[in-house]
């Protein structure tokens, strides 16, 4: 399942990049995420609990950076598992700073599930994945705005 979108976020490119590149900061603001552990290879483990019609389904996920150009693109390869479900996800983010201080973020997600979730995906998962992406970007924007206003990192 491939999904893509472009968002214009009212925060500076550098501030947004620093949040998206720091999963611990990002996770603090994210709903449905807990148990985040940074791995030695730069990746991280997290349990995410997307709320589906079947109830919250906790996925234990491992996120690894998969290429990218500093300041421009971020790529993640994600493997997740939850009981009888497996998740494979590849996400690409491209950030472009604008003259007005805002940032344009283009994203691509290639997401594959197994089990019942695969069936649910026929109609429902695109909306759920899009919703999750919106939550991530909203949280990142909040974090980046707070950092900019407070002079933080």
């Amino acid at each position: 399942m491939r999904l893509a979108g472009t968002e214009r976020l009212a925060v500076p490119h550098g501030a947004l990049w620093s949040v998206l590149g720091d999963p611990e900061r990002l996770a603090e603001a994210l709903p449905h995420v807990d148990d985040l552990v940074r791995l030695e290879d730069g990746g991280f483990e997290a349990t995410i609990r997307p709320a589906l019609a079947l109830g919250e389904v906790p996925f234990r996920t491992v996120w690894r950076r998969d290429g990218g150009v500093a300041g421009e693109t971020l790529s993640f390869a994600v493997e997740g598992r939850s009981e009888e479900y497996l998740l494979e996800l590849h996400a690409d983010l491209r950030l472009t700073g604008g003259d007005d201080g805002a940032t344009t973020l283009a994203w691509n997600v290639d997401c594959g599930f197994t089990g019942t979730m695969r069936a649910v995906g026929q109609r429902v998962l695109p909306a759920i994945v899009r919703h999750q992406v919106q939550l991530v970007l909203a949280a990142a924007t909040r974090q980046a705005s707070a950092a900019t206003e407070g002079g933080g990192p």
């Binding site: 079947l54 389904v57 906790p58 598992r81 939850s82 009981e83 009888e84 479900y85 497996l86 594959g112 599930f113 197994t114 089990g115 019942t116 695969r118 069936a119 649910v120 026929q122 109609r123 429902v124």
Partner: protein, 828 residues
Amino acid sequence: MSTPRHLDTWTPPAAAARWTGLELPRKEDLRLLKGQGTYADDLWMHRMGYVHFVRSPHPHARILDVDTSRAERVPGVYATLTGDEVRRLSDRYTQLAPEPGGRVKDYCLAVDKVRFAGEPVAAVLAESRELARDAGALVEVDYEPLPFVLDAVDGAERGRPQVHTEVGSNVGWHGVFDFGDVDWAVKAADHVVRIPHLHFHRFTSAPLECNAALVHWDPGTGNIELQSNNQMPQFAAMLIAPALGVRTDQLKFKAQDIGGAFGIKLTTYTYLTALALLSRKANRPAKWTEYRSEHLAASAHGNERTFRDIEVPVMADGEILGYRAAAYDDVGAFMRYEPLGAAIWSQVMPGCYRFKHMRVDYRSVFTNKCPVGPNRGYSRLQHLWLVERIVDLVADELGFDPVELRRRNYVPADAFPYTTPNGCVYDSGDYHRMLDRALELIDYDGARELQRDAHGTGKRIGIGIGSTLDSGTNNFGQARIVNKHLPFSGNGEAAICKLDLYGEINVALGTVPQGQSHETTTAQVIADALGVTPDEVLVQPGHDSARNSYTGFSGTYASQFAVTGIGAALGAAERLRADIVRVAACVLECPDEEIVLVRGTASVEGDEDRALTFAEISNLVYANIGALPPDVADTVTLNHRYVYRPPFEVPDWKSKAGNLALTYASQVHACVVEVDEQTGQVRILDYAAVDECGTPINPQIVEGQVHGAAAHGVAAALQETLEYDERGQLLNATFWDYKVLTAPDTPMFKTDNLPCPSPFTPTGSKGMGEGGGAPLHSICGALQDALRGTGAVVTDTHNPPERVWRLLRTPPEARVHGVESVSRKPAP
């Protein structure tokens, strides 16, 4: 082939029909419509826990490790169960298949490997359903994914990944059914029509109630109480008892109301075994209610079947001599009830037609998909669809009128009882009359006019016919066709009929009703036999193996209740009647022959003042026995068990010939569809279902069954399909994506019933209700008719708008269906 054996007609004393044949309201509805039914999920036991199954995400993988420790540490978790424990605590199930399919090792949980996405790998028993599910998420399973196979034709090839390496290939069973001389027919025919490929898709009957059970292994008695909606407990008992190493009489099965089963609830013995093991381990009852997604992904699917290399010899006048074909039946990851389906279809080998020369090269093939199970019309509707497609494609290819071609080839009414080339005896029928009636109901001439008028409007009109059979009351000797060593033959059903203490008539059936109105129809027949009203007959609801009598074949399946269940109840009632008459004749001092049973009394014919009520007779036998002479008191019980036994012989396993079913209900459906050329959307404009099932016991119930079977067929033809993606993942395991037929999707069925009483059954009735998939045939035929002139060929049972749209859009030169004919004479 061997010479077909004919049956002797068996006609027991006919009941004086007063209630039989009336449209009485269903007794069951008094409780069901008030929400007072008791289903498996309504059950509760003290200290019970709830079970959640952890399932495989892979279609094929080696299990490297199962770690349940995190789950077991959760407060409220009572026990877990893994495949390794199952291997230690139970034996693998007996396989019905001979070599090589019989080598399969099938347990209640996956052992060493998983073989389809959704297969249970571990189970958790906890204090609530939700906690069991949460704890299930903590079970760690390490897998090593393996290559897999998803297509039966591909999987049958050498060198493909093997679902069970011990089998040596993916072909679990192979046999050739060869009757007449089809090679001669192909040489002698004026035309030979070749059809390279036809595909019957996967779907399910989607019962409203998913599987559910409450199982308690009593540590004190060793008895295992299994309250569930399993529809054939004795079959389950024969598999569970050896697997658990217990006696069959330790297994106490119980069910009251079941919300539909359709055959799909026949193979739930694996889950019942797992619940029993969990119950023993935790020393508490274990309850499980299946989620819909589990049901669709992992309970049982209907058989998917691919037909290849079909050749049909046809004479210039339209006589179809027969056919030959290869059949690849996709049985999924385990055989379970298979390969019985490899023989059952041959009950209807020529369909409704006088075909004389037939050969089917049949393979049951393992794939990494959900195992199949009997599904309404089990195995026969797949084959009947082939036969009906043959007739329609012959008509299309050679330019015959599909209606006239059917009339030319139907078995005529005066040929019954009709013996087919493989020795089956069709008991009665009148297919020509049924076809005429179906065409009348849809106004065939008007529909043709509508078709002409639609030309050029962007809509196409098609008219289709499905003529089909619902063979009922199996001869289990057909199991020997697939495995000559299986010690099964004949059939039998048991019932108990008794007078209780105050003269109440009480019947307990061996069957397990799932909505077929057994309480109502049995009461109607017994009321006639004993001279009372149906309200005075209490038919015990559901099934309780400790209370009801049964045989190894007991259960509700294969369209047989009206023959076997009713036959057993009627036989028991006749014996009870003889007891009543004997007591009354003794007390009233008259010959037995002068006693008549009227309005709950036994009286002397012509002298109603000399009478005993049934209550008085019960009093004499149960509480006043000293008042009866010893020769009467010692022989009268007022409590009788009877086993109805249809007159079957053992089929010949070598030639695969024999009488495989007792009754042949028939259906002729006709429909008119409209196809939108822009979207491929198919709309049913008119639908007629003409049914024949012998003497109807309750016509309203028959009509209800006709509606249900027709709705299931329409659903499968246009909406319902179980589709796997290229990774072996089921794409539609919820009702969001498995689009069940709802009332707005269902056409208004015009129905009629044209009875041809069976000469072989106690009441003249035939089993019915499964239907032979007639809507699949009629809708495919109507689509073919609507697509006439485009060169498109309908090769699949399932035709959603997208497929129809592609059929309309594919240019003639790009079509790959390859239907062609070789003619030695000009086509008509």
